[in-house]
Amino acid sequence: MNLIPAREIATQETPRKLRITVLRHNPSEPDITPYLQTFEVEEGEGTTLFIALNEIREQQDASLQFDFVCRAGVCGSCAMIINGKPALACRTLTRDLPDHVQLAPLPGFELIGDLSVNTGKWMRHMAERVQTWLHRAEETISLDALEERQDPDLAEKIYELERCIECGCCVAACGTAQMRPDFVGAVGLLQLARFKLDPRDTREDADYYQVIGDESGVFGCMTLLGCEDVCPKELPLAQQIAYMRRQMALIK
């Protein structure tokens, strides 16, 4: 945690020099072995890793690859390993980091190049496999009838779980997912818990069991809780995984 008030930082005389080391590798250039490259950047007030990396790309090395879209912790594309912990680069203030910052791409995903990984491909595969979308039994939806009402407390709970941005931090931090590539990960279990909570989804427990009732699903999770400890949205992953485990274990 940073306790220095912003004004104090502004009056500091010499700005800090940050050394940012990036694990560089481009799979489309297989002849070049992966290597570490260190850049120096001057820290400004409120510099995030997003700003620092852009500065490097603009002023020092245009070939550096990394992903950003929203720069506000919403799109989930900028997750990377920051000093040994998966986190969102756009939400990481450099003043919370030591002078030397080490960056690596998220493991467990297809590498596009340098810090850019294809989390989208992984997420899509997972979503199709365990069907993380709303399933409704009835075929026709009447456009004339009033919408069903939902209890505000329940809506709040569903909304809470809906906040997942599919950044992939939980998968990178999960020893199980790293050892077993077919494991759904906390993100998949969380998303199913969200639909299970939703009365508009007419799936039964047995339907959920069908997709996560084995060791590539909820019973593969070993409760290492890496996911819970790194999720940038602070989602209650341990609790939701335990909930799915209880529901799936008690099924007849």
Binding site: R180, G217, L224, Y243
Partner: protein, 241 residues
């Protein structure tokens, strides 16, 4: 409704947890009984005869101890068999795990690794001990046990096993509660920290108790070394004869 797939993954998960829980509870109770030596030789003598059913049947039946040992052994074997599913089992899994541990310093993941290592050690350590209890059930008593610990050179095994069991069982207990969502309540992060403190408290308590107890048996064993094999006669019986 879709055709149900096998319910066995669910059952196996429950069985692993239940056997683990029973083993932890047994180990904690067991430590309580064994440490009766700290209250004196007569206390331990009484506990040992109690497990042989003397207070109920009027005379000791050591085969009751064999039965307990056999039941524990079955629990232990089932638990270990199921735990095997969780061990990294191929080169690629070991490599993935070691790379993961290489960059990710995460306390709970390290606890799990410690659990796997201590669990593996228990395969061997606990088997030796359970075999002995099952087939020499009558050799439990203030002198018989102390002679085994010292003259029989079992103390190094017990010393290593104490740490392995307490660490493994303590971590297992903690993870078991989290795994099934017991104790998380409405503030999972705070309650998890509390649970961690409780867990370490229990583990440290049992390790200290275990070391003290082992020390007591070793001391009696050393003093009794020249008369090793001779059985203890309780003060009450001596007085009565």
């Amino acid at each position: 409704m879709v055709a149900p797939i096998s319910r066995w993954p669910a059952r196996l998960d429950v069985i692993q947890g239940v056997t683990g829980l029973l083993l932890v509870l047994f180990m904690w109770a067991h430590m309580g009984f064994v440490s009766s030596i700290l209250l004196g030789k007569d206390a331990m003598y009484f506990v040992a005869r109690m497990f042989e059913g003397e207070p109920i049947f009027g005379k000791p039946y050591p085969f009751l101890v064999s039965i307990v040992a056999a039941v524990v052994f079955i629990l232990f074997a089932v638990h270990a068999l199921l735990a095997l599913r969780k061990f990294p089992s191929s080169f690629s899994q070991y490599r993935a795990l070691s790379q993961h541990l290489g960059w990710f310093r995460h306390p709970d993941t390290l606890l799990w690794v410690l659990q796997v290592i201590t669990g593996f050690a228990l395969f061997f350590l606990a088997s030796v001990h359970l075999y002995q209890m099952a087939f020499h059930p009558s050799d439990i008593g203030p002198y018989a046990s102390s002679d085994r610990v010292w003259t029989g050179r079992m103390w190094p095994l017990y010393l290593v096993m104490l740490f392995a069991v307490e660490l493994h069982g303590g971590i297992g207990f903690y993870r078991l509660l989290l795994k099934w969502g017991v104790f998380l309540g409405d503030n999972p992060k705070r309650n998890r920290r509390r649970l961690q403190k409780i867990k370490w408290g229990i583990t440290i308590f049992f390790i200290v108790l275990g070391l003290t107890t082992l020390g007591a048996y070793m001391k009696i064993g050393i003093e009794h070394a020249d008369r090793a094999g001779e059985r203890y006669v309780p003060a009450a019986k001596l007085g009565g004869e």
